[in-house]
Structure formats: structure tokens, C-alpha cells
């Protein structure tokens, strides 16, 4: 079971999700989007902050709002909803920076038992996909819902 998560909203197409991170830096709007890639049934997970004033999306910053576990558990929850709506989908995600990729790895590691109940999880290392293992740095991640 995932840990505590934020309430979130989603579009009617089940591909756009938003929620608020609440912490010492204030309320920061988070955006998750599942975009179609060039391969059928393969979607890219994009995740970043929305500037409250300009509405611009930034996926390069580390927010440091003291709630990264809750934020990543919320993203994992959107993944569950997305793949219930698109059960045939695989999802790939690549961190925009090394720090982001590391954050994703930690997020997957911390929720691995819960995630592996529903998903096959892979990490990309040395240009090969491997079954995800904790404490190994990967360049990208791919999940596919178990049937």
C-alpha cells in the first residue's frame, strides 16, 4: 500500500493530473502528464511544478518542500489510476536531471513492495533494461501493469 498521498484532480481523458504540495515553501502546484510516445501503448510520464503566477511548467527544480515521499506516493497513485484506465499501457519516465532521476529511483525503492504488487518494474542501465533493484542508479524507468 502506498503511503500518505495528496488529494489530486485529473482530466476526463485520465492523462493529466494536478495536486498541491504543501510545506515550508508554501503551496506548490504539481503537474503529472502521461503523453503518447512513438510506440503504441507506451506513454511518457512527465512531472513538474506549475508556477502559480505564470502557469509555466518547470521540471528542473527540486522543490525541497519537505514532502518528497508524499509527492512521489501521489505520483504513484496517479500511475495506478492511469493504468486502470489504460490497462494495456506501459509507462516510461526519464528524470530531467540526475537529481530528479535519483529522486524517482528513491521514490520507486521506497514504494517497491506496493508498486510490484501491480506492476513489472524495470530500470535502464548501460543501455539495457533490467528488473528494478534497489540502490542501483538507473537512467530511466519503465513499468507495465501486471495482468
Amino acid at each position: 500500500m502506498l503511503g500518505e498521498i495528496y488529494d489530486f484532480e485529473l482530466g476526463t481523458g485520465f492523462q493529466e493530473f494536478e495536486f498541491d504540495s504543501i510545506g515550508p515553501k508554501g503551496v506548490i502546484r504539481k503537474v503529472v502528464q502521461y503523453s503518447e510516445t512513438n510506440l503504441k501503448d507506451l506513454y511518457n510520464l512527465g512531472f513538474g511544478d506549475k508556477d502559480n503566477k505564470t502557469n509555466k511548467i518547470n521540471d528542473l527544480t527540486i522543490t525541497n518542500n519537505g514532502d518528497s515521499q508524499k509527492v512521489l506516493a501521489t505520483v504513484a497513485s496517479t500511475l495506478l489510476v492511469f493504468t486502470e484506465y489504460f490497462p494495456e499501457a506501459s509507462v516510461i519516465t526519464v528524470g530531467a536531471t540526475l537529481a530528479r532521476t535519483r529522486l524517482y529511483r528513491i521514490g520507486i525503492s521506497n514504494n517497491l513492495d506496493a508498486i510490484e504488487k501491480d506492476f513489472h518494474v524495470y530500470g535502464l542501465k548501460n543501455n539495457k533494461w533490467h528488473k528494478f533493484a534497489k540502490n542501483i542508479p538507473y537512467d530511466a524507468f519503465l513499468v507495465k501493469r501486471k495482468r
Binding site: E9, Q15, E18, T37, G46, Y122
Partner: protein, 48 residues
């Protein structure tokens, strides 16, 4: 033909907001999508 999909039961605290549909045709993370497509093209998919 568009696949008719079954709407899943949403977790507590999740709600549909049609305002978010404004992003339907917008790629919000184009660089990540580009990176993902590059990986898929050069490495392919894992054997599941």
C-alpha cells in the same frame, strides 16, 4: 475507432476536473518525451 474505456473507481481524494482537459493536446514535458522516444528507438523495450 476509439476504444470505449471503463472508468475506474478513483481513490479517496481524487476527482475529475474537466478544466485539466485544456492540456489534452499539449505536451507539457517535450524534452522528457524526446528523451523517452530516443531511448525507445535505441534500446527498445524490456522483455516482459
Amino acid at each position: 475507432m476509439k476504444t470505449k474505456r471503463k472508468t475506474p473507481k478513483l481513490p479517496k481524494g481524487a476527482k475529475i476536473n474537466p478544466v485539466l482537459d485544456k492540456y489534452n493536446d499539449v505536451v507539457l514535458f517535450p524534452e522528457k518525451l524526446k528523451m523517452a522516444n530516443h531511448i525507445l528507438k535505441t534500446v527498445g523495450l524490456p522483455k516482459i
